[in-house]
Amino acid sequence: MRKIAVTGIGIVAPSGIGKRQFWANIKAGRSFVKKITRFDAQAYPSHIAGQIDDLDAYTHVSERLLKKMDAFSHMALIASEMALQDAGLDIQKEDPNLVGIFLGNAIGGWLYAETELRDLYREGREGVSPYMASAWFPAAPQGQVSIYYGIKGFSKTVVSDRASSLMALGYAGKTLGKDKLNLILAGGMEAPVTPYALLCCNTYGCLSKNNDNPQSAYRPFDKKRDGFVIGEGAGIVTLENIERAKARNANIQAVISGYGTTCDARDRINPATDGKELARAIQMALDDAQVLPEKIDYISLDGLACDDWDSGEVSAIKQVFGDKAKTIPASCPKSMFGNLLGASGAVDMITTILGMEHNLIPPTINLDEPANNGLNYIKKEAKEYKINKALVISRGRGGINSALVIEKT
């Protein structure tokens, strides 16, 4: 594929809002997983999460608009504004027909939906906010962001479980490569720390129940893993063709050079344990980028911390990288703040770009003794290392596989 420039970064995460605060905490290896305090979650088997408590302090959105949207749209608006500012872009000066927005989300805006459904059963039809119809569904953030900035070009919301935002980035890159647009806001957002969303995540059955030790609960690839921890937030970047980015002297923070996606087609929840289809997606992304496996300096792991998912991921990496898999540094930084589901891939890409910028590999915290050998896991502490080319892996329920290659310029 044509290389696509990442020129601005917007991050809203439990580890920090804004890339400076976020990176400082990632670099330090701090955990932001804690007991859920937004509502009484004690009765849930898993009641820990990466929760964001200070969103309002960062908002640029009016109270009038805020009451029409769920938190996941609010997060997307904040991340979009940060990305545009970071890119030095005044969107009002862009041709609105040539600006697009590609976002990923898995579950929609449940806090809004739950509240209104409660009112529906308590008070009847008239108790429900008319904004309910437009606030809860997964494409709501795309709508809100496009209205806020007057974005009128080809746009899309990808709903593919946890792989959603990495797929949105890949799709955005392909669209820019065809010269369909000048600028795309791309990434994802998720707000699952709500009673019903948490219930669904618990029912799914892959969440850690280590509620007494929140900070050490999310243990990807560790022998004592017992599932992942959910988190909330958004990761959105500005994407432009390299020629345009260079012409306006933009700070090209990285380039997206390859994308691949496949499906396991095996089970509605669990992945195929052989990792073959994930391996094919990784190979597809490498071929797309015209990068040989041995040229990859870092692998950002999906790391769900469940046996079948972790072992399949390690198997896939070994199938593509062979013996080289033992030497390429690999980590799962989301162990620090939780799995942001539909937003996880975009946040992983942003973390990787920040790692490239600072020549530092963020660690997998809580990885004491690997259950799956054969990878060069960066554990506990960040490691100084120059990353020129990286692979980001993101997977969704039922075995949706996506992989992205990014490169330093």
């Binding site: 009016s62 109270e63 009038r64 009451k67 029409k68 008239e126 906010s129 008319p130 904004y131 119809a133 437009s134």
Partner: protein
């Protein structure tokens, strides 16, 4: 409270406005830029506030506070007559 004051209070609370932003003779779509969903919300809030039934056609974005007052006064007088 006067009918007009109650209408103003309802709109101001609903749309998070400052009192000076709401002009009595200005169409809702002009000064405060009310959208269609806000009007649905406004109809529901006015119905609750005055105990009358209103239709979406009666409260449109081309209405002003003064227009809404006339509509509601008319509804209230019909209620009294009944």
């Amino acid at each position: 409270m006067e009918v007009k004051d109650k209408i103003r209070e309802t709109i101001i609370n609903l749309l998070k406005l400052k009192p000076q932003e709401l002009k009595d003779n200005e169409k809702l779509c002009d000064g405060i830029g009310a959208d269609s969903t806000e009007l649905v919300e406004l109809v529901i809030a006015l119905e609750k506030a005055f105990g009358v039934k209103l239709t979406a056609k009666e409260i449109t974005k081309f209405c002003s506070v003064n227009d809404i007052e006339k509509t509601i006064q008319s509804k209230l007088s019909q209620t009294v007559l009944k």
